[in-house]
C-alpha cells in the first residue's frame, strides 16, 4: 500500500536536492519524489494535488526544510495543519538548524519528526534507510479522504 506513496521534498538548495535523491536511491526508495523549491510552491503543489480528481499524487510524506525563500518552512507547516485534508500528512522537518527554538516551534506546530541534515554522505544514507524502514514500511499513513 505504501509502495507508491509520493514524497514531497521542500528544499531550495539544489545540492541538497541532489544529495537527498541520491540517498533515497541508495536506500532503494522507489516512491515518486516531487520537489518544491520554496514554501509558496509547496503550498501551491499541495493545493493543486488536492483539487485534482485523482488524489493519488497528494503526498503522504513531506520532507520540509525550514529556511526557505518566499514562505518559510514553519509557515508552510502551520498552513498545512489548518487544512482539514492535510492534517494527517506526515511532515518530517529536514533542516540544518538544530536551534532549540526551531525544534520547539516545529513540534508545537505539529511536525511528526525533526531531523537535522547530516553533514556526511554516510549519515545521510543511514537517515534515508531509517526513513524507509520506519515511515515507509512500519508506519501506516492516514487513509485519504
Amino acid at each position: 500500500m505504501t509502495e507508491s506513496v509520493p514524497i514531497l521534498l521542500v528544499e531550495d538548495n539544489e545540492d541538497d536536492v541532489f544529495f537527498m535523491r541520491r540517498a533515497l536511491t541508495a536506500a532503494s526508495i522507489s516512491n515518486p519524489v516531487f520537489v518544491a523549491e520554496d514554501g509558496q510552491k509547496a503550498i501551491a503543489y499541495l493545493v493543486g494535488t488536492a483539487s485534482r480528481v485523482e488524489g493519488d499524487n497528494c503526498p503522504s510524506l513531506i520532507l520540509l526544510d525550514l529556511k526557505l525563500p518566499v514562505t518559510k518552512g514553519l509557515d508552510v507547516l502551520a498552513w498545512l495543519r489548518q487544512q482539514p485534508h492535510l492534517r494527517g500528512t506526515v511532515v518530517l522537518i529536514l533542516t540544518s538548524s538544530n536551534e532549540p527554538s526551531d525544534i520547539r516551534e516545529a513540534y508545537r506546530l505539529g511536525a511528526n519528526s525533526y531531523l537535522v541534515k547530516p553533514t556526511t554522505t554516510e549519515r545521510l544514507n543511514e537517515l534515508a534507510k531509517a526513513l524507509k524502514n520506519f515511515w515507509l514500511e512500519f508506519n501506516s499513513f492516514a487513509p485519504g479522504s
Binding site: N13, D16, F19, R22, S96, T119, T120, T121
Partner: protein, 394 residues
C-alpha cells in the same frame, strides 16, 4: 534668571516724631543702615521686601489692633525669624505682645543707653544674617534635590536606551548565529557530498593520489563542521536563559558514558562515591562532563588506555563542592593552565590531536553560567586533574 533676594542689612525704624529723628541720626553716624517707617503697615511692607531687623516701640505694637505685624511675620518663609527690637517703658512690662512666644523679640527698657542699643542691634543683624545663610543652604539643598531628580530621570532614560540597544545587539547576534548554523553549514555539506559522489561515481578513473585528495576535502569539511557546531554550542551556552536545579553528577556522568560508544568501549571511567548533589543545569553539566571525558579519551599518548577517576572534594568556598576529573593523558605545562579555557586556546599540534579548541571554553562558560568556577592542575606527561566547582544543592 534672577537669584534669591540678597541679605538686606537695613534696620527698619518706627519711633514717634522726635525720638525717630534723633535715633536715626545717631545710628546713621555709627554706620548702621537705617530706614524710617511712618507707620506699622509701611514697616510690614519693608519686612516683606527684605530687612535685617526692626526697631519699634511697645506702643506701636499694642496699637496694632489689625494684627498687621503678626500677619506679616507669619507670611515670612519657614527659615525666617525676623528680629524685633522693642523699646518698653520701665514700669509697664509688656503684657500684650501678640504671639510673643513665636516672635524673635528683644526688649530694651527706656531710657536707652546707646551702647546697649548698639549691641542689641548688632546681635539682631547678626542673627538675621545667619538666617539668610540658612536660607541659602536650604536653597542649595533644594537645587541639589532638583538636580538629583533630573539626573535620575536622565539616567533612567539612558538605561532604557542602552537596554534597548543591548536587546537589539542580542537579537542581531541570535540572527547571526542562526544564519551561521544554516548558511555556513550548507556549503560544507556540498563539499563533503560532492567529494563523496565523485569518489563513488568516478573513483575508478582516479589514482590513489586523486582519491586521497578527495578524502582530504571530506575531512576538511568535517572539521569545519565540528568547528561551526562548537562555536554555536558556545554562543548558545553564553546567551541561554537557565534555571538551576538539584542535579546528581554521578547520574550525569553515567549517562554520558552510556551515550558515547567511544567512552564506553575505549576508556575506563571510575566514580569514587559519594558525589554530592549540586545546583546545576542538567544540559550544561552534561555538556561539561562529555567535553571533559572526551578530552581525556582524546589526549592520551598512543597505545595508552584512557583512565578517568572522578571524585568530589571540599571547595575553599564553603557552599561549593569540587568535582575532580583525573586522567592519565599527556598532561599540560603550567603556562597553559589558563589558555586552555579560552576559545581556540588549544596547545597541541592539530595533526597529532584532533579538536576545535573550543571544548574547554564551553566547559568554562557553562560552569560560570551555573555560578561556579573551573581549573586544572597537571604536569606534562603525568595526566591532568580538571575540576568544576559548583554550589552544593540546597
Amino acid at each position: 534668571m534672577t537669584g534669591p533676594p540678597v541679605f538686606e542689612e537695613r534696620l527698619l525704624v518706627l519711633l514717634p516724631g522726635r525720638d525717630a529723628e534723633r535715633t536715626l541720626q545717631i545710628l546713621s553716624e555709627s554706620k548702621i543702615d537705617c530706614v524710617a517707617c511712618h507707620n506699622l503697615p509701611a514697616l510690614c511692607d519693608s519686612i516683606h521686601q527684605g530687612a535685617g531687623a526692626a526697631l519699634l516701640t511697645e506702643e506701636a505694637i499694642l496699637a496694632d489692633s489689625d494684627h498687621c505685624l503678626e500677619n506679616a511675620l507669619r507670611r515670612e518663609p519657614p527659615w525666617s525669624n525676623f528680629p524685633l527690637i522693642v523699646l518698653t517703658q520701665q514700669t509697664s512690662g509688656i503684657r500684650h505682645l501678640p504671639a510673643s512666644a513665636l516672635l524673635n523679640v528683644t526688649l530694651v527698657e527706656r531710657p536707652v543707653r546707646f551702647l546697649t542699643l548698639r549691641s542689641v542691634i548688632d546681635a539682631a543683624l547678626r542673627h538675621r544674617r545667619h538666617q539668610y545663610e540658612i536660607r541659602d543652604t536650604l536653597l542649595h539643598l533644594q537645587q541639589a534635590q532638583v538636580d538629583l531628580k533630573t539626573a535620575n530621570r536622565d539616567l533612567e532614560i539612558r538605561v532604557d536606551e542602552r537596554t534597548r540597544k543591548l536587546q537589539e545587539t542580542i537579537s542581531e547576534l541570535e540572527a547571526f548565529s542562526y544564519s551561521v548554523s544554516h548558511d555556513l553549514r550548507a556549503p560544507l555539506r556540498s563539499m563533503q557530498g560532492y567529494a563523496h559522489a565523485l569518489l563513488e561515481d568516478y573513483g575508478q578513473q582516479l589514482d590513489d593520489q586523486g582519491r586521497k585528495f578527495l578524502a582530504k576535502i571530506s575531512s576538511g569539511a568535517a572539521r569545519l563542521d565540528l568547528l561551526v557546531q562548537d562555536i554555536l554550542a558556545y554562543s548558545r551556552i553564553a546567551k541561554g536563559q537557565i534555571t538551576l536545579e538539584n542535579v546528581s553528577p554521578g547520574d550525569i556522568i553515567r549517562d554520558v558514558v552510556e551515550t558515547y560508544p567511544q567512552l564506553r568501549e575505549k576508556a575506563s571511567v571510575t566514580i569514587k562515591p559519594p558525589l554530592p548533589t549540586v545546583s546545576a543545569h542538567p544540559a550544561y553539566l552534561t555538556q561539561c562532563v562529555s567535553n571533559l571525558l572526551g578530552n581525556a579519551v582524546k589526549f592520551v599518548a598512543p597505545g595508552v588506555q584512557p583512565q578517568v577517576t572522578v571524585w568530589a572534594e571540599p571547595d575553599p568556598a564553603n557552599d561549593h563542592v569540587r568535582l575532580c576529573f583525573e586522567d592519565n593523558g599527556i598532561g599540560l605545562a603550567p603556562q597553559h593552565f589558563k589558555d586552555i579555557f579560552e576559545i581556540f586556546g588549544r596547545v597541541n599540534a592539530g595533526h597529532l590531536y584532533e579538536g576545535t579548541g573550543i571544548g574547554l571554553a564551553i566547559v568554562r562558560k557553562a560552569v560560570e553560567r551555573m555560578g561556579g568556577t573551573v581549573g586544572v592542575t597537571s604536569e606534562l606527561g603525568k595526566g591532568s586533574r580538571f575540576w568544576l566547582s559548583l554550589r552544593r544543592a540546597a
